[in-house]
Symmetry: C2
Subunit: 432 residues, 2 copies
Amino acid sequence: MAAVTRLTARNPEFASQLTKLLHVDAAEDDAIESAVAKILQAIRLEGDQALLRYTQQFDRVSAKSVAELEVPRQAWLSALEGLPAEQRQALEAAADRIRAYHERQKQDSWTFTEANGTVLGQQITPLDRVGLYVPGGKAAYPSSVLMNVIPAKVAGVKEVIMVTPTPDGQRNPLVLAAAAIGGVDRVFAVGGAQAVGALAYGTDTIAAVDKIVGPGNAYVASAKRRVFGKVGIDMIAGPSEILVICDGKTPADWIAMDLFSQAEHDELAQAILLCPDAGFLDQVQDAIDRLLPTMPRSDIIATSLKNRGALIQVDSLDEACDISNRIAPEHLEVSVQDPKSLLPKLKHAGAIFMGRHSSESLGDYCAGPNHVLPTSGTARFSSPLGVYDFQKRSSIIDVSAQGAVELGQIARVLATGEGLPAHAQSAAYRIV
Amino acid sequence: MAAVTRLTARNPEFASQLTKLLHVDAAEDDAIESAVAKILQAIRLEGDQALLRYTQQFDRVSAKSVAELEVPRQAWLSALEGLPAEQRQALEAAADRIRAYHERQKQDSWTFTEANGTVLGQQITPLDRVGLYVPGGKAAYPSSVLMNVIPAKVAGVKEVIMVTPTPDGQRNPLVLAAAAIGGVDRVFAVGGAQAVGALAYGTDTIAAVDKIVGPGNAYVASAKRRVFGKVGIDMIAGPSEILVICDGKTPADWIAMDLFSQAEHDELAQAILLCPDAGFLDQVQDAIDRLLPTMPRSDIIATSLKNRGALIQVDSLDEACDISNRIAPEHLEVSVQDPKSLLPKLKHAGAIFMGRHSSESLGDYCAGPNHVLPTSGTARFSSPLGVYDFQKRSSIIDVSAQGAVELGQIARVLATGEGLPAHAQSAAYRIV
C-alpha cells in the first residue's frame, strides 16, 4: 500500500501542517557554489580552451576545438528522419499547436499622440540571441526543447543556440529532432556550468547570448543565478507540483493517475488533492494502492507521494480555492462539474486545467500553452514562459515643441524640489 | 576646464576603448554580503524584534513596537497640504500623466475556442501585495515613489506597502506627499536590509509581500538579490546612463546640459555623446567648460564626466545607431532632424527620447513613461518598469471531451517517448 498523508482542512493544526508539507529545502550547497564560481571564471578568462577542458573532464568527450563540438544541422535532420512516423507526427503536431497558441502572445509596438503633438508609447523588439539549455541523460525532454524555442522564434529572436551535454558522446535523437522541428539555429554538445558560462560571456566559437532559458541540474541552476544581470534568465525551477481540486465526481482512477503523472517526475515532486468528499478521498487512496504496482516508475511515485503528497478533505470547493491560492501551485487541475464558476476565485497558479478532461499531461505536451511554469509558490508573482519573455520594450518619448513648454514647467519644479538643478535647466532650455 | 574623453569611432582601438569606458566594477563586497545575510536571518527568525533592534542601531530611532514605526496616513496628508502650491500641482500633474500612460499598458485576460470546443488562453491577475522601498536621505526622490506605486495600482495591486528609513527620525515630506498622491496604502519608517527582509518574510506587524520594487543602496540591493525567489524583485539598478545621438544641429548648450543632467546623479553616472560633426563636439566641450562652473553639483558632474563620460565622433548617424545598440543605454536621446528615420535601427534602449525637444529630464518626471529603466546594457533583454511587472498570467486549458481524444493521442506518444508512463496513461484515460 502507498502511504499518502491524509489531512483535514478543518483541523486547527492544518495551517502549520500545510506549511510543513510545502516546505522545500532550498539551502545552497557550498561545494556546488564554489565549483561553479571557478568554472565560470575559467570560461570568462580562457573561453574555448576552458570549455574543451571541462567537457573532457565532465562528459569524457575530447575535441580539438569547440567547432568540433557543434552538432551539424544534418545530424538533427537525420535524427528527425530516423524517428518512427508516429513519434515524428506527434512532435510536429505538438509544435504546430504550441506555435499557434504562442502567436497569440506576440505584442506589438504602440504609440498615441496627445493634443499638442507629443507622441508616447513603447517600441517592442525581440531579443537578438538566446541560449537554450537542454539537460543530458534521462531528463532530456524533447517537449522542453519545443516549449523553449518556439516562443523565442515567435518573438522574432534571430538566433537560438542550444547547448546539451553528450556524456561519453551519446546524443539524444529525440532532442535533436525536436531542435529541428522547433527551429533551433545552432546546437553545441556542451553542458553544465561551463556551457552556461560560454553562452553568457561568449567564447571565440560560441557567441554571447542575451538570455539563457531551460532546465538543468544544481550546477546549471547555480551558474544561471550567477550570470543573471550579465544576461537574462528564466526562473530557476523548483520541484514540479500539481494541485487537484475535485468535487468527487471524476473517476478516482483518473485522479490517481494525474497525481502519479506529477509524482513520477522525481522524488521531490509534489501531488496534492483537495476534495470535500471523504469517501472520494478513500476511493482515490484505493486507486493509488491498486494502480501503483502497475507503474514502471512506482518507486519514484511511492517516495514522492509518501514524503510530499497529500489527500486533503476540505469543507467546500470555495475553501479549496482559498487553499489553492495559498499554495499558488505550478499546475492546478479543477476537476469539477462547473470549473468556470471557480475560475474567478483562483488567483495564483501557473496553469489551470479546467474540467475532467483537461489532464495536466495534455498541457505538458500539446495543448499549446507553455509547460515551463512558476514553481514553489512563485505563481504569486510570475508567469508561464511566453513570447513576452523574448521581447523587450523601449519607451518612446517624442515631445513636441508645445509639449516641451507644458512638461518643462512641471519637470523644472520637481527637479528643483529633488535638488537636481541640471535636470531643471535641461527642461527649462526647452521652454521656448 | 572639464576633462571629457574624446574618442573617434574610426580609430582601430575604438571597440576596446568603448568596452573599457562601459565597464562597471560589479564585484560583490563580502562585508556587505555577510552583514546582509545576518540581518535577513535575524528578521526571518525574530521578526518585529529584530526589525526594532536594527532600526535603533542604524537609524537611531527607538520604538517599543513596529506599529509605532508606521507613519499614519494623516501624516502623509499633512505633508501634502504643507507643500507649496506649485510643488503640489507639479506632483499631481506628473501623477496624472504617469497614470494615463500606464493605463495603456494594462493587459486583459484572453481565451479562444477551437473547433472541437477546447478553450485555451491566459487569465491575467494582479499581484496581491507589493513592497516599495524608498531610500532615505538625499536620494529620496518623490518622483520614484510615483513611478513605482502608480503602475502597481493601475495593475490592480490591492496593497502597496512603502518602507523608507528616517535616520534620527527625520521624515521627508515630499516623499510622504508623493505616497499620498500615488496611492500607497501603508508606510513604515524602516529601511535597509532589515526592511527588505520584513517585506519578504513578513513579521507580526508587516505582512509579507509578493514583490519588492524600488531603488536602494548596496545593502538594499544585496538583500533584494537574496530574497529573490521567495518574492519577485525589479531589476537591481546599476549607475544611471545617458547616450545622446546628435546631428550637430541642436544648441550645444542643450546637449551639454542633458549630459550634466545624467552626470549630476552621482560620480558613477555615465554620459556619452555620439555625433558625426567634430566641430559640434568642440562646441559641446566649450559649453561644458562654460556651464559647469554655474552648476551647484559641479564637483559630481566633473568627476562623472572625467571618469565615465565621452564625446565620440562617428562617421554617420547609422554608425551611431550601431554603437547605441552595442551599448544598450538606459536613456537614449535622438537629437536629430528626423528621429523617426533612425527609430527602426535602434534595437536596445530603456527609453528613447526623440527629437530636440525631448530632454531626458522630461521623461524623468512627467512625460508619462516610467523612469525605472534597465541599466548597464540590460536593455538588451529587459524593459522599463510597467504595469506588466505587477500582473501575472495563468494559462487556461479547458479541453473538451473531443479535444481530449485528439490531444490524448499526441500526448500518449510523446510521454511514452520520454519514458513517463503515468503521463501517457493519464492522457489515455481521457480518450473515451
